[in-house]
Symmetry: C2
Subunit: 128 residues, 2 copies
């Protein structure tokens, strides 16, 4: 399903981001149980060890908590999830602005850019 999007970035990082996005979208509500290490491994098409690492890292970030023998869960702190949305948003904006700035675009091109983004964002409004 999700598969590997960017072969040049560690899979465990990409899966971490995917899980964060799902939580932010409400696909994994606060406090909900995540698929087991083995289930998620099958869903993502990777080794269970890789998922174990993902869960461990997410727990280290306070985004996931684990009850040994029981399962791993998305944090029940809704604020934490909202904060993650902000973090991801700001990171995306920062990266984008830096990339575009590095290209030294003319003002006219910048105008077109803004329009292009506006269209794309409002267009994808009904998706996901």
């Amino acid at each position: 399903m999700t598969l590997i999007i960017d072969p040049n970035r560690p899979i465990y990082l990409q899966i971490m981001e995917e899980i964060k996005k799902r939580a932010v979208r409400g696909h994994y509500p606060p406090g909900s149980q995540l698929p087991s290490v083995r289930e998620m491994a099958q869903e993502m098409g990777v080794n269970p060890n890789t998922i174990a690492r993902v869960y461990t890292e997410l727990e280290r970030e306070g985004f996931v908590f684990t009850r040994r023998g029981q399962g791993s869960y998305i944090t029940d702190n809704a604020r934490r999830i909202e904060r993650e949305r902000e973090i991801l948003t700001e990171a995306a904006v920062k990266r984008f602005v830096e990339e575009i700035s590095a290209l030294d675009l003319q003002n006219s091109h910048r105008q077109e850019l803004i329009e292009m983004i506006t269209k794309n964002l409002t267009h994808k409004e009904n998706k996901s």
Copy 2:
């Protein structure tokens, strides 16, 4: 100077992008000679072998050409460089839109986003 920005992505890819950006900005004009493998290695703080790989890959993409024993040069095809600017721009926009769409933002938040980007882009107008 440039150093490693993202430790989770191959250095040679990051350096490839850096060189493309420099060419797009005019720092390396069309047909200009690139620093030698050994010079660039020192500038970037990496091994000469890594730069050799970078030049080889860039040549494979038609962005650089090499005269053996003489040096490596940015393509003298100005259109090719302009095209690279478009490629990098579109890639940045596409990535950004996908990332933001995945976060399922409310319309009000999207409005703020557009404003944030506009400000940042026009603000960095005098930089670089």
